[in-house]
Amino acid sequence: MRKSFNLMGAVLPLGLFALGAWAGTSGLIGQIGTYWEDIVYLTQQHMVLVGASGGAAILVGIPVGIWLSRPSMERHAETVMQVFNIGTTIPTLAVIALSMTILGIGFAPAFFGLFVASLLPIVRNTYAGLLAVPAHLKEAALGMGMTRGQILWRVELPNALYVMFSGVRTALAINVGTTPLAFLIGGGGLGELIFTGIDLMDTSMLLAGAIPTAMLAVLVDFLTGQGQLRLIPRGVNPLRV
């Protein structure tokens, strides 16, 4: 692990340097620079799509996961989860296409398609995380005189938080990666540069879309990873010793 890490550490900067040198001499950087205004505008659009659909998925997915994990739902929860599972087997491109047939083109179908695609990991991890809270913790909490709500907030959710956070992280990774497809149904975003670049065989235009998309994906994953490290209490965080 450590050895491969060192190798990466040596190869990566060298590779980047070579890439930069080539891009500089071939004039690619200058060409990409001509798209600067588009990049700024489309990145904003892109981030709004990610933020809105991802945020909505969190706001809906977590309560749904909690609701499915309640003892009263025990009999139906697995059936509902199966429906969600079938939902993920549909490729996200198909989800977006389906959503266009219903909602037309523009922001709304793109938002809805991305929302649906990122919902499942959040629901599944919330549900699984809450079910994995040991029964004896719930028994101790009940025996001490906590109400159902207190047990959920003070015992179940904190102890499921790490697994739930992993679900959010996966969902946002899927979301950021899928958002370029939104362009195909008129949702805008950096996909506009990528797909147009492909169609015109214009490498600099393609890269003007692809590089910010990649950077955004890395940034979002870094931020959620940091959140997972810092926001979850030390006692239940395997990342902190």
Partner: protein, 375 residues
């Protein structure tokens, strides 16, 4: 005080109705520990969990300090009862301090008071508050976690505690230590405790009373010595084991069977005096003591007789001494180890406190059987 009246629990299963607890009647006096003992599936845990309604009773009544608990709602009732489980159940997301403060905070104590209480309780079980308050459960050893589990139940000072195999998950050495600590605490706290166990040795050690369960019914409810000496039926006799009389050894301290008037003589006393003392008593030996009253050896009647000189020169070293508070099991064990029929007792300061003999031990154990036969 906890009183159970006709407490019954039935479960409806596809194979018909199962009776988990069948008209259980018992009373635990205030300040006593009552052990619910029996094989698995005998209804002891069901009986315990009906008291804080983790299992709702089918019928019957529960009184705590004379008050019928059916008038309280589940939440109020549980906050008034300390609850300790085998898996400990410390909340891993909370620090030790937060864990201990849970019930006080639920009861509306202000934060300062709850925190002071947490520190006080940690100190009580020998865990330095400064080191442990801010730690998380996973940073503690199993034994330390179990101690915190017990003091968390004590946090709001409930009069009644329910303990479901609280020391079941700890290794034997630490279990003994924690049991001793708990008994010491209980001696000052005087809680009324219901304690589920499946271990007869633990029951004999911890219990003021033991209730033996079978198939949802109490077979016998008695003091440990009565259960061991006079099991009411073959089931109880079988459950407490063929060596039940040996188990009684743990219930009696050396002091109780010792002969405190066993004769002693100073080291610099004359052998002739020793012989004279023994001639006028039915003892066969004298314990030799030093100036601080510490036993240092013994002389027998035969050797003292006709000998001149000092007893200090005649004395044999003592094979072993036992503290007065040792139980008879430890005493007998020492006797067997040294192939001797008697041992010298010493008090906390190491001073002579009497002699305990094997016939005295067997007489003490046998008395209760003789009385039962005479009656």
């Amino acid at each position: 005080m906890i009183r159970l009246e006709n407490l019954t629990k039935t479960f409806d299963t596809p194979n018909g109705t199962v009776v988990a607890a069948d008209k259980v009647n018992m009373e635990v006096p205030s300040g006593e520990i009552c052990i619910l003992l029996g094989p698995s599936g005998c209804g002891k845990t069901t009986a315990l969990k009906m008291i804080n309604r983790l299992i709702p009773p089918s019928s019957g009544k529960i009184f705590i300090n004379g008050e019928d608990t059916s008038g309280l709602n589940d939440i109020e009732l549980r906050r008034k009862i300390g609850y300790v489980i085998q898996q400990i159940g410390l909340f891993p997301n909370m620090t030790i301090e937060e864990n201990i403060c849970v019930v006080p905070r639920l009861l509306g104590w202000d934060l300062k008071r709850a925190r002071a209480r947490a520190a006080e309780l940690l100190a009580l079980v020998g865990l330095e508050p400064r080191l442990f308050l801010k730690r998380y459960p996973k940073e503690l050893s199993g034994g330390q976690q179990q101690r915190v589990g017990v003091i968390r139940a004590l946090a709001a000072d409930p009069p009644v505690m329910l303990m479901d195999e609280p020391f079941g998950a700890i290794d034997p050495i630490n279990r003994e230590i924690i049991q001793d600590e708990f008994l010491k605490m209980q001696a000052t706290l005087k809680k009324t405790i219901m304690f589920v166990s499946h271990d007869i040795d633990e029951a004999v050690k911890m219990g003021d009373k033991i209730a033996i369960f079978r198939a949802g019914k109490i077979e016998q409810y008695d003091a440990p010595d009565r259960i061991l000496a006079h099991p009411v039926n073959a089931f109880v006799a079988d459950f407490v084991g063929a060596d039940r009389t040996l188990k009684r050894l743990r219930l009696i301290t050396a002091e109780e069977v010792a002969d405190p008037d066993a004769p002693v003589i100073a080291r610099h006393g004359r052998a002739a005096d020793a012989a004279a003392m023994l001639r006028n008593s039915d003892h066969r030996f004298l314990v030799v003591i030093d100036a601080d009253h510490r036993p240092v050896g013994y002389v027998t009647a035969e050797e003292a007789e006709g000998s001149s000189g000092l007893v200090g020169d005649l004395a044999h070293p003592l094979p072993a001494t036992v503290p007065v508070r040792a139980d008879l099991r430890a005493v007998v064990s020492e006797m067997f180890a040294h192939d001797t029929l008697w041992l010298t007792l010493v008090d906390d300061g190491g001073r002579f406190a009497g002699v305990v003999t094997q016939p005295a031990v067997t007489r003490c154990l046998g008395e209760t059987y003789a009385r039962a036969n005479a009656a």
